[in-house]
Amino acid sequence: MALSSTSETVAGSKPAASRGLTTRRREMIAGYLFVAPDALGLLIFVGLPMLLSLGVSVFDVDGFGSFEFVGLANYQKMLVDPLFWSSLRVTVQFAVMLVPLLYVVGLGLALLVQRTSKVNTVLRAMFFAPQMISLVVVALVFQLMVVDKLGVLPRSLSFLGVGGLSLLGNPSLALFTVTVAAVWFLMGFYMLIFLGGLQDIPREYYEAARIDGAGRAQSFWNITLPLLRPTSFFVLIVSTVAAVTGAQAFDLVYVMTKGGPANSTSLLISYIYQQAFQYSAFGYASAIATLLVVLLLVITVFFYLITKGGRFQYD
């Protein structure tokens, strides 16, 4: 240890500090080496693709991998491509349906099974169970359940007097059906996040409110909701990002509808995938993906600002 300190010419003047510096150097090297595999992996397989996406978007790329520089042509193409605009609209519609539904269902289930008891443990597990199966299976099961006339859901609906609906065949219903499948899959996850948030609210607040004569509803609006703000923000950010990027919806749409009928379920991500892997239009697909990243950044900055620097603090 003393030997390696010879390289530290500055530290040499202070013998007391030199030992400290060498151990510090060792710690530094160890630190970098320990972080290296993950840091490089994330750089190569996440960071680089982000940059590459920008780069590729100014090229025309064919299926054999030859590139031709086309400037902003791919972006211009986007402006006049009705299918792009339609997929953007579908994505916004999907997010507008999914995010509030997930919030309400997640929080509702959490409140329902909030108390610690044996029964509630079982109920929580039942609500969470859909998370265990893949979205491909979710999509297949829902597809089977909504088969026109014969499936369980259309049958139950016609029993309730709403007959003859084609839940995946009707362009104005298909996206909603996909949203319901997504909510079913995700609700257990958000229930748990809300349960974590509810746990952190001191019970004394509720007791004080009860002594003051507040009812259940009043406690909910005046204690639970405000104190859940950090959790709510987290839930809103995560679910919005998931909805916009199609983290779950891509799989559901791919299996259930392939974007149809009449492109009514073709999300941005489905359209990107189609352009890239069906038509080999990698340049154009990258241009749309870049727009998706911009959209994502806008959302992130928006949430960052309203959470006052992402600290999720409640004051």
Binding site: L123, A125, I193, A289
Partner: protein, 284 residues
């Protein structure tokens, strides 16, 4: 915050109990609705082709033919084994890399640590769909299309795991490591024989979550491996319906085979899985 049953006043007892019963009833009905699609899948998997759309949930003439068909007429075993290999290898490598990174980011002091952590953590918001096209181009350039490397390597790196491990290591008491440092142990020794054994509970929870995520993964295997010999189960069942002309009883049997191991895993490790998600919420 462990909450014990709140003491109820005798006077309000009756009222509270009726509210409680209604509450419980609603919760039970909703919970049954929540698992209905799973029961439905099971039910169809045991039905013969003519019974698929009969309304009974319990198959009138239960049969194993669908499972036999899926496992013998389709190379389904092959897909299951492929998926197991990929999920297991990704899980082991990811845990190895993430524990190292999490330990260094929580405990070792080096310049740029916080920046590095923030940079790594910010990739949390980049989900696979956003980068699928450039990632495909990159992996193709590396010659990894239709290879095990292509299926495995890009699936390893994930900010969520690093973040959770770093949080865990921040909460560990320093004394144990300090004792090891005084004994003259190097950082690798500390990591390997102090930190890793202390991480057992969180490693177990993350192992389950990573394995699950990879077992259920669809988009990446679909994109990187078009070669049928390298298909993973999710890709296989997504194609199943097109290939074997929409026989729902076969499709549901295949879905059951794929979903059942994960549901069993859930039954066994329910508490660990749900606790690790509950605490992952925030606490940043």
């Amino acid at each position: 915050m462990t909450d014990t049953a709140a003491p109820t006043l005798p006077a309000s007892r009756m009222r509270l109990d009726t509210v409680g019963v209604v509450w419980l009833l609603v919760a039970c009905i909703l919970a049954l609705m929540a698992i209905f699609p799973l029961l439905y899948m099971l039910s169809i998997a045991f039905k013969g082709p003519t019974d698929v759309f009969k309304p009974d949930l319990i198959p009138p003439r239960p049969t194993l033919d669908n499972f036999v068909y899926v496992l013998t007429e389709v190379p389904f075993w092959r897909y299951l084994i492929n998926t197991f290999i990929v999920s297991a290898v990704v899980t082991v490598l990811a845990l190895f890399f993430h524990t190292m990174a999490g330990y260094a980011l929580a405990r070792l002091r080096f310049p740029g640590r916080e920046t590095l952590f923030l940079a790594m953590f910010s990739t949390f918001l980049v989900s696979l769909p956003v980068i699928i096209v450039p990632l495909f181009i990159l992996v193709r350039a590396l010659g990894f299309l239709n290879t095990w490397q292509g299926l495995i390597i890009p699936a390893i790196f994930n900010a969520f795991g690093i973040f959770l491990l770093r949080q865990y290591y921040l909460s560990l008491p320093r004394e144990l490591e300090e004792a090891a440092i005084i004994d003259g142990a190097g950082y690798w020794r500390i990591y390997w024989s102090v930190i890793l054994p202390l991480s057992r509970p969180i490693i177990a929870a993350l192992a389950i979550l990573f394995f699950l995520a990879n077992w259920n993964g669809f988009l990446w295997p679909l994109t990187v491996a078009s070669d049928q010999g390298l298909w993973l189960v999710q890709v296989a069942i997504a194609n199943f319906k097109n290939q074997y002309s929409a026989s729902w009883n076969y499709t549901m049997a295949a879905s059951t085979i794929v979903a059942l191991p994960m549901l069993i895993l859930f039954l066994v490790f329910q508490r660990q899985i749900m606790d690790s998600i509950k605490t992952s919420g925030l606490k940043g």
